[in-house]
Symmetry: C2
DNA sequence: ACTGATACTGAGACTAATTCTCATTTAGTG
DNA sequence: CACTAAATGAGAATTAGTCTCAGTATCAGT
């Protein structure tokens, strides 16, 4: 019961609520992110969105990040992408093949529980990122 | 019962075993990493090691990584550093303050168990990285 | 210790990713 | 419609990281 089609609308509303305007270029970035279920890099977005400037793509991502609508994910070998954050809190983590760079999403309830049980005085925890590294079948 | 003073020697031995030579510049990179208990960025190493070229720093890091002597760690906001890998397998993960960028190491046994229980067909898992994000006391 | 083969090195050119600047356009308000 | 400020795109600037290459240093063999 996810709401992939709604994240775009939800984000547009949050953008407005934050006092920002509804511009076409930014909305196109939002729509592209809404369509993807896993990480996309800033340059991929830039390349895919003809007519939208690089600067705009980076700015949009930054704003969405600030509003907690998008999260940055480490994709190994110095690359990183962004993916939408479902308001439900439902999310996944990533396994990356250190040989070919393939990235695969995964979910694990026990892992989530272990993380939720971590408390650190002097820190208000808000999110987490887990990346498993290994070698995929093709690279073994 | 850690062996912080020995990692440097251990690494030097592995370097030799891999057919590489014992050069002073590379050894200086190793020694610097041996001294640190948490992540250092490549540029920090470069800045701290007068007389050692940037290229050499990056090359040394890459070789140490390939030999499994050093691991890359994500430090939030597009920065990443490297830290030595204890032969014992003993390691820590990181909490980063999304406001000021402060990074703090932590260890959690339950988390490690949860991670070790994860199996993914089509993937031979070898290592993992966990980063908790939040706000430190100073930034709240 | 001398020698040769070759790993290693530093300087700086180069590339790629991201940020910044600024003149122009556009959304939203009245 | 008119005004104001947010937003945009082109491209310059900055940063991080990689590559090239001519000279240097390591090490095995003598
Ligand atoms: Zn993903
Ligand atoms: Zn999680
Ligand atoms: Zn650390
Ligand atoms: Zn661990």
């Amino acid at each position: 019961m996810n709401e992939p089609a709604n994240w775009s609308e939800h984000s547009a509303r949050q953008i407005t609520a934050a006092g920002l305007r509804r511009s076409t270029p930014r909305q196109r970035v939002i729509d592209l992110l809404a369509d993807r279920d896993c990480a996309v890099t800033a340059l991929e977005i830039d390349a895919e969105l003809e007519g939208v400037g690089r600067a705009t793509v980076y700015r949009a991502i930054e704003q969405l990040e600030d509003l907690g609508l998008v999260r940055k994910v480490d994709l190994g070998s110095s690359a990183h992408g962004y993916e939408k954050i479902e308001p439900s809190g439902h999310h996944h983590h990533h396994i990356v093949c250190d040989d070919c760079g393939k990235v695969e999403p995964f979910e694990d309830e026990a892992l989530e529980e272990a993380i939720h049980d971590i408390h650190r005085k002097g820190f208000r925890l808000e999110s987490h990122e887990v990346t498993l590294h290994g070698h995929c079948a093709d690279c073994s």
